[in-house]
Amino acid sequence: MQESQSVATPFAPASVPNVTGVRVQQGPIRLAVIDTDSGFVRVLGKRVGEMGWQHRILTAPPRPEDLLSMRLHALIVDLALLGPNGWEFLEHVCESVPGLGVIVCTGNSSVAQRVRGLRIGADDWITKPCHPQEVIARVEAVVRRRKRSVPGSTEDGPLLAGELEIRADQFQAFVGGQSIDLTRREFELLHLLAKARGRVLERDEIYQHVWGYAMVHGDRSVDVFVRKVRQKIERFSPDWTYIHTHFGIGYRFEPEAPDDEPAAEPAAEELPSGA
C-alpha cells in the first residue's frame, strides 16, 4: 500500500471489531483520505489531528484487505484521482468493507455521477472546493449513522453458547454470572470466533481482525491467545468444549456438551438486546 509522506499518527487500537472488521466507534475516529490535493489534505489533516482523530493520507488506492487492516471508521476518496478505475474501486470497497463509512470528495460532477456513486454504496458525496469543517461534520454524521446501524456494536445482546455468555457491552464472557476474566484481546478473539457461528476462521483472518494488521508468516500469536482463552474458559466450564482446532487452517467456535455430542442449541445464539 502506498502512503504519502504526510502519514499522521499511527493507528492505535481504540475500539472493538465486529465480524465485518469495521470498528464500532468508541475512541477517536479513524479516518483515511485518498487524495493528492496537498493543500486540502494538509488543512484537513491538521484539523482532524487537533480533534484527536487518527488519520492516514493515501496517495493511491489501497487493497480492500489493507483498508480492513487499518480498522477505519471512515474513508474519504477523491474519485478523480483513481481515473477510470474509480467506480470499480468504490464498488469493491463498499462491498468488501460493508461497515466502513465512505465519503466521495471530488471536483465537479454531474447529477448522474453523484447518483451512481451513492447507489454503489457511498454514504455521502461532497463537491470540491469545500470547507474542511463541512467535510469533518459529514464524516461525523456518517460515522454516527454507521454506529447506529452496524450489528455487533455494544448495543448488541449477549451471545449464549453452552454455559458461556459473551457480552460485548462489557467486553467480557461469563459462566454462571461469573466473569472468566478475559483481557481485551482475548475477548476480541472469543467474540470474533463466536460471532462466526461455527465457521472455521483461518489464522490470518483472525489475526487481521483482532490485531488489525496482516499476519507475518510464522507468527504464533493466534495460537497462543486461543490457548489462553481455552484455559480461562476451562476453569469455569471444564466439561464443555468451545474452540476447535482445524490443523493447518485455524479455529472454529462450536460449543459441545459433555457427552461429546454437538450442542442442541445453535452454536452461538444471539439474543435480542437487553436479554
Partner: protein
C-alpha cells in the same frame, strides 16, 4: 605431538574453555525451551541470565589464568576464543531479555527454528571444546557448526524478509527484527568459536 602442548597451566585453561562450552550448551538449550513454549515458561529467562553471569565469571577466570600463570596457548587465540564464547551467551541472553523488554506475547516459528539451530550449534561447541582439552579430532564438530551457521543465515534472511510484507504491524517488525538479529549473532559467534579453534589446529601443523 600434542595439538596444544598442554602444560599444567595450559590444561587449566583448556578446562576453563570446556567449562565455558558447557555453559554455552546449557544456554542454547534453555533459550530453545524458552521459545518453544513461549510464554508458558518465561521464568527460563532468569536461568539464562544466570548463565550469562556464569559466562562472565568464566571469561574472567580465563583472563586471570592467562595473566597470572601464562599459557602455552597463543594468548591472542585464547582471548579470541574466550570472547567468542562469551558472545554466544551474551546474545542468547539479549534475545531472552528482548522477549520481556518488547512485551512479546507469542513466539514466531522462525525464532523457534533459529533457537533450535543455536542449541545444536552450542552442543557442537561444547563437544569441540571437550575434544580440544582431550587433544582429540574436532573436525566433525567444526563442520557441523559451519553447516548450522549457514542454516541459521538462511532462516534469518527469510524471517527478516517476511517482516517487510505489506500491512505488517510496525511494532512487530521492530521487535522481531531485533530478536532475529540477536539470535543470528549468537549463531555467528558459534562460528567464530569454530574459526578460532580451526586456527589453533592449523598453527599446530
Amino acid at each position: 605431538m600434542s595439538m596444544l602442548r598442554p602444560t599444567s597451566n595450559g590444561s587449566g585453561l583448556l578446562a576453563l574453555f570446556e567449562e565455558s562450552g558447557r555453559n554455552v550448551e546449557r544456554t542454547g538449550s534453555l533459550l530453545r525451551d524458552l521459545l518453544d513454549d513461549f510464554p508458558e515458561h518465561s521464568s527460563l529467562a532468569r536461568d539464562i541470565l544466570i548463565c550469562e553471569q556464569e559466562g562472565d565469571r568464566i571469561t574472567h577466570d580465563i583472563i586471570h589464568e592467562m595473566t597470572i600463570n601464562g599459557s602455552k596457548l597463543d594468548q591472542r587465540d585464547a582471548y579470541e576464543l574466550a570472547r567468542a564464547l562469551d558472545d554466544v551467551v551474551d546474545y542468547a541472553e539479549e534475545t531472552a531479555d528482548s522477549l520481556e523488554l518488547y512485551g512479546v506475547e507469542a513466539p514466531m516459528e522462525q525464532a523457534q527454528e533459529l533457537a533450535a539451530v543455536l542449541a545444536d550449534a552450542s552442543v557442537s561447541v561444547a563437544e569441540a571444546l571437550a575434544h580440544l582439552r582431550a587433544d582429540e579430532d574436532v573436525s566433525t564438530q567444526l563442520i557441523e557448526i559451519h553447516r548450522l551457521e549457514n542454516e541459521g543465515d538462511r532462516i534469518s534472511r527469510e524471517a527478516i524478509a517476511s517482516l517487510f510484507k505489506s500491512g505488517t504491524d510496525p511494532m512487530v517488525v521492530i521487535r522481531w527484527k531485533d530478536i532475529f538479529e540477536s539470535l543470528e549473532q549468537a549463531i555467528d559467534s558459534c562460528e567464530t568459536v569454530a574459526h578460532v579453534i580451526e586456527g589453533m589446529r592449523l598453527k599446530r601443523r
